[in-house]
Symmetry: C2
């Protein structure tokens, strides 16, 4: 029988899991709830039990399984040790060793969820075919995952790729969730887009379809698509900041490609049209030829990347 | 006989060379001129000849030499191919293979000079003991070298660590050498410091020792050390920009340490006092605990790093 892999994406409410072949094809995927009671002590046993059950169902022995990869919502070091995941009630311990013990010694690899999702997009998503990639997640916040020569850049304290807090505006008066002012996240997350929109709408009374409906990332981009001029101004401001921030990122790691995901990216390719001019304005010559693409795996990026963690480079 | 390594730092006017043991101790070092005539075609043969002569003098056979590392002034990819070094008249070719052939098959490793110098500082200089480091060179321009897990981050087109062109000021009216406006280099290189100083001095007639002498990086920092208040303002502006730029770098690669070198760094530890407050203001929490140190190898960083290239991680 061909070898198999498991990819696990541990979230705050559900655990997504997938059984893969070594080519990266999903054989089956499923979810279990994340039980956060008692300091999250049930989480890894629940995952182990669910994997063992799946192994039985698929008639897989320990020898058939190369390993289990897991993405967790917190900083994880190279040895698979998590440094607190407040969201789960977890302290500092080795996710890798603990889960491996629960799985009777099956190999486990662990990584930060955003980084692992980036690896998934490199393997089978928008970054396929590239080894030097920056994944940008425009969700509730703005996260990043940096892949260098096919491997996740973890950083010395697990804070590599925290690009949402790059400073991009000196004149900001409101604070970011992190306490600083003028972070990329304040303008380009889903809530950032709403903030930009509300600010712009409050400036004057110019006609806009956005005055008649709930303002969220989707309605803003839908308005851009029908050439609403106020929405286009908002999109330009969004693009100005994201292009500036990504130019700084390129100045550091010089990637081949940026892969844009998260809720805001559902707007589609039009997003990229608004990022590029600003990126080109601010970036150094050596990184001008970068590609931009949309993430394609959606919520499955985590399980793909977790499986890829097991395979290594 | 113990094994030996050569480190070569190829500059625009001289080639610095060193013979090392595997512990990184210099046994001997010397220089030869860089002959740039005829499209720089004599450069590598001259280097090879000089190394062979040194091998003979030190009674070293091919088997005694693990390899030769070389830092060159241009972008170099993982295969040792240089993509033009205008300064030397060179086009695109494999420095690694060409030099290895000239040395009768001795192993050669090649890297960009700034990156190689960073590796030297990690191995034996200001970054000793660290594996995740960013070297910042404040010279005529501002360069960077990024080391991740002990290895140089080259980037997809060799432009990794080009941090001098990170955008840090929206209101700049003058252009940087790269064509953009508001690059880190415009404020923190040796010429950048002079620019800041001249701008400040032109603002008003406030008394300053800088009005009585040539303004250069050294005189500015000397004035800071005797508490000249105008010089202190200049140093604050310098620190504001460098701290902001390095905070962006930390947001991407999350290093353990920044090692500051280049002519401007001759000012000493006082430089760091002016960088830190701004760095702390702009950086994301996860990278707040970074260390700052001065480079210690000066012009020898290149030969150390080149020798280290041969040893690998």
């Amino acid at each position: 029988m061909s070898k198999r892999l498991y990819g696990v994406d541990l979230g705050g409410t559900t655990v997504k899991m997938g059984l893969f072949d070594t080519e990266g094809n999903v054989i089956t995927k499923w979810e279990i709830p994340t039980v956060k009671d008692h300091g999250g002590k049930h989480i890894l046993p629940d995952i182990a039990e669910s994997i063992k059950k799946n192994m039985t169902e698929n008639n897989l022995s320990k020898e058939d399984v190369i390993g289990v990869g897991i993405g967790v919502p917190g900083p994880v070091d190279k040895d698979g040790v998590i440094y607190k995941a407040a969201n789960l009630g977890w302290g500092v311990f080795s996710v890798r060793n603990t889960l491996s013990d629960l799985l009777d010694g099956i190999k486990v690899e662990a990584g930060n969820d955003a980084n692992v999702a980036a690896l998934g997009e490199m393997w089978k998503g928008g970054g396929k075919g590239h080894k030097n990639m920056v994944a940008v997640t425009l969700g509730t916040g703005v996260g990043g995952g940096i892949i260098i020569d096919g491997k996740i850049l973890t950083g010395s304290t697990g804070a590599g790729g925290e690009i949402g807090h790059i400073h991009v505006e000196d004149n900001e008066t409101e604070s970011c969730g992190c306490g600083n002012k003028g972070c990329l996240e304040q303008y380009t997350s889903a809530t950032g887009v709403v903030r930009l929109a509300k600010r712009r709408l409050a400036e004057d009374d110019k006609t806009s379809v956005l005055r008649d409906e709930e303002v969220n990332s989707k309605t803003v981009w839908d308005a851009v698509k029908i050439s609403d001029s106020v929405a286009i101004e908002i999109a330009n401001t969004f693009g100005k900041y994201l292009g500036k921030g990504l130019a700084a990122v390129a100045g550091v790691v010089n990637p081949e490609i940026f892969v844009i995901g998260g809720g805001v990216s559902k707007a589609g390719e039009i997003l990229i049209d608004y990022i590029k001019p600003s990126y080109q304005k601010y970036v150094f010559n050596g990184s001008r030829e970068v590609k931009f693409a949309l993430a394609t795996l959606g919520n499955d990026a985590g399980i793909y990347g977790a499986a890829k963690l097991v395979l290594g480079e």
